[in-house]
Subunit: 346 residues, 4 copies
């Protein structure tokens, strides 16, 4: 059977780097280049992202998604601010208090919602119930994830309605796009439709999970905020000296269509897993993550067969998350599909 490495469905950040990305790194590796972002590759980012999104933007490379999210939020939120997000959000669960650190103490207000999405109604109600006085945290921003932490993709109309509520209350909207490409590949819409046209002010645009080495961009559709951002990035140690080597990854990712090829591949295999999971499937598969009810014995069976994945939800709830990476083969996924099919009924 396949070697153990290829049966890893832990996360897409266990994957390798795309050959195209490595090649781009090598091609940029010539000549001295001014450091800290004043190199030709980094200078091209605004244009490349502008082209991609169909509007003028400012785009800044950073090395991690946590940095992208926390820096973006700190730019939107005063230290006495409130950030509304889903209780499953990565910023709430997986970033070790980074939002509190970068904002200087702002508070997260965590909300419910299907498949880890925030709905306009939920946000409206939360805002209505959140008193605003000098004693309370001041509503400042909303953060949504695209794709969501439960593998869902917001439709353009959903985001538009949500951003309208936010903006009507004076809040800015941040999107955590660690798996933005996967959502976009699923939706098939224009990148602008789920960002600036819908009202997103700042986007954490991820590439690392989808084939880059370490490359995320903070993309500002609201360009008035960038000076503050640049200083926050520097003092957080997230301005890389040899910036060209992040920027060139992003250029290759955007300009060669790599984002789409990799995302479509992973999404397609994830859908295969979803089909194989049948009634065990917990959420529609709209990106490259698959949430399934296996039962604790079912998990044991799969793990004995060499498959690796994370438990999900409460301890002993029998749930699991399966993530397909850009570099996994159809053969590997078919092996898991077969094993899923052989599990005794849920």
């Amino acid at each position: 059977m396949a070697d153990s490495l290829s049966l890893r469905f832990f996360s897409d950040n266990t994957a390798t780097v795309c050959p195209e990305i490595l090649r781009a790194l090598a091609e940029a590796n010539t000549g001295l280049a001014v450091a800290y972002g004043d190199d030709p590759w980094t200078r091209r980012l605004d244009g490349a992202f502008g082209e991609f999104f169909g509007t003028e933007v400012r785009a800044f490379p950073v090395a991690t998604g946590t940095a992208a999210n926390a820096l973006a939020l700190a730019t939107l939120t005063p230290p006495y601010g409130a950030v509304f997000a889903h209780h499953e959000a990565h910023i709430a669960c997986d970033e070790c208090a980074a939002p509190g650190f970068f904002t200087g103490g702002a508070q997260l207000v965590l909300l419910d919602g299907e498949q880890a999405k925030l709905s306009p109604a939920t946000l409206s109600r939360a805002l209505a119930e959140h008193p605003v006085s000098v004693h309370t945290v001041q509503p400042a921003a909303v953060s949504v994830s695209q794709a969501t932490e439960l593998g869902g993709a917001y439709r353009p109309a959903e985001l538009t309605a949500l951003c309208q509520v936010a903006h009507a209350h004076g809040l800015k909207v941040h999107m955590d796009g660690a798996r933005f490409a996967n959502a976009l590949a699923f939706l098939g819409c224009h990148p602008g439709d789920v960002t600036w046209r819908a009202g997103i002010d700042v986007l954490s645009f991820g590439a690392t999970k989808n084939g880059a080495l370490a490359a995320e961009a903070v993309v500002f559709f609201d360009r008035g905020l960038v000076r503050d951002f640049e200083l926050r990035r520097k003092r957080a140690g997230h301005l890389l000296s040899k910036s060209r080597y992040i920027s060139v990854q992003l250029l290759a990712y955007l300009e060669t269509g790599l984002w789409r090829r990799n995302a479509e591949h992973a999404n397609r295999l994830a859908r295969r897993l979803g089909e194989a999971a049948g009634t065990r499937l917990l959420h529609p598969v709209e990106a490259n993550e698959v949430f399934v009810r296996l039962g604790e014995p079912g998990k044991e069976v799969l793990r004995s067969a060499g498959f690796e994945f994370y438990d999900w939800g409460a301890p002993a709830a029998g749930l699991a998350r399966l993530v397909v990476s850009w570099d996994q083969s159809g053969q590997e996924v078919e092996a898991l599909c077969a094993s899923l099919g052989e599990l005794p009924g849920p």
Copy 2:
């Protein structure tokens, strides 16, 4: 009818200062005294609080409850820590992100519970469901309010069971005692029974709401933490130069039984309101706060009659909070009781 001031049931911090407290201020007002806490009054605090609680403590005066709470939490919690508290807690709702500020970004994890109490079962479940890895905020402290934000008083056994869960997981326990005297007067137990004997590590001991001018104490039962606290207090601007004038308030409050007289008076009148409210009462009256369902029309009637109070809960939910202060008269409260009795049925 009574003048408008005396019909205020907004909050006990609208009250005046007790004559005993003013007299104590005047008596301390003689001679030069070393500043910043090295005066004879402040030096007596440890002893006076130790006597009160029946154990050795370290006690530090500060001027506000928010300062007491946030400084205490910052001493217990690293900047990447999690503080578990009820979603109605003052630290979560009414302190404008002070915990995040003082801790350097720690995250609140907000839980449900009857009458704003945390139960051992709820805390256990929350801890079990809170994954702990380098990606997550690290459970560090629990904060409870005594009396609670919904006017309840934890019984000694409830606190003991809760602290056992907390300590078993390595968490410290903080008590927000802004209305500690009211809870204690209701319970009739020894002060140690609802603090150190139950497992409380640090207490915000409030006196301001119950007759002082501005005087709270942070009382450490776990005395190993105080050096860090003292430096945090100073850098937060909460070490008063003329400390004697806070300390002497606390001494008068503790040593003359003032805490009990004032609390018993307010509690008794609050119970009267609770009886008058009848089926409108939302929670048992165990301190000096009374939560009632009046309906929006009912509120209107009372306000037209000159009574002042805060809405409670969701907008237009028809709920209200009535707080009795130490200096309100039975006559004033009886006026409100009468008006409550005349409201059309709920």
Copy 3:
């Protein structure tokens, strides 16, 4: 001879509270008043300070000078900002990193200057030598002390010239006025002449050292900043619930001329000490602080006679600071003058 208390020349914060202040507290102690600053006394502060300064201002009470300074600076300075101050400044030496805490990490840039004053030339040079790029802290504010930490008083023209340099570089100017009354009493000018007319944007106006119990005001001449300030004050625990009791101290202090009477008294006695010190005097006496070279043996002689004061400067440098409080008598000061006169020549 006089009892030991009256021979304390440690600091003016060892003093008692003025009878006028205590009386004002008692007079405000009637009726319920809305908490957190929405009481009649606090609402009068803007007007009273506006009258005092001869211009429209916003004034906010806090309980300590460290709070006033750090909150004011946090309102002026982003977390990546630089605050220029004298290396003897209270914010640099005596506030346990409060500016760093409240600003979220801004850096102090410490400068030299006669009698702890910043000169326009020194500031100009410091700004010229301070590179500004994304790598450096961003010059944001200047902080001056009036009176200075070495007992000097800036003249109106000195402040005007300094503020011009600051404003020309886009910096705001903060004044630490812990001993503002002493400087003003010495200068004999209009309060506006050393504040807003000279270009000061925000003032920490101290009353505690000059006879109040605990009362400082943050006075904004630049009124655009106050919303941010109000939220920062609350989350720092510096919004007092029973605000009336701070505000009424400030009203009594301003409106009855108390500030001047107390300051003139202390200044006059300090000048007497300065004269008695003769050639031992290190700086002109322009407030209520007197810096003298006593030699270590000279200090020993005075301390044996019961006089208490702080060493100043480097260990064993033989320097001392003598501070006269508002409530010290001429007799006490004459005793020290006599002892100074009897010391063997320096």
Copy 4:
């Protein structure tokens, strides 16, 4: 003549990535690997650094030197702490208040010293003159740079004496080793001799400037501190998901002697520049940086000839910094040497 790129003497972070490093990246690019540092390459770091330094260590990869420095300092220093450093230190001048951000507000105390070195005597005096009370920042750490910001290398005995002073006062010692390899190549001593054997507690070990793409390590000789560090790193967004790609750079750098080859090359060419500068040389050349007095006209001449470099020191002081990178050729440096030789006398 050479193309303009090759005449860049701005900084060693304008350089390319070593072929050996790129090759190592490619070799690590196979198979799925657990993310966030639990991969085989990262797991080997402790051993590889332990071997290099001749003692047990814990080593953590990060992407930037600012992150390494600020995280290390935050682990050593409480938010009310003081960090003693040279006034030319990178942490003071070039990191946009990162130390204040990561520590939560600690204060830098900046000292003088030849060639940007701290001497034991200077540190002793600064500690003696720094009062310690609840009002002051608490001395917590010393930070030194190896090589220094003025191109000097601390000798083992210098560091040993300095660390003795620090440790005797309870301070920890951090070393900013952004150019550690250059200093080590110059000194020719064992890596342990200028780190743990001398008393260094934590080292920011730089590789980026000397041929890596983006790779620094925080090396703990005092291993008791690492849990706090790991959580601080995560919440700062400096734990990379695909950690293997930083770790493998560090492994290649350490284990193939790359650090030495690159450093020796750059140092040798820098010494050539130093010789050519003759009496214009400001400091001995002990690493790859050369500080020269060119006069403003001299700079103009060199820049007209295509050489690029940064001004140094005060505006119009006529000083310049020339940095040689690992990938610059002898030919390029000789061109600069020739031009230096042709300048009219200083």
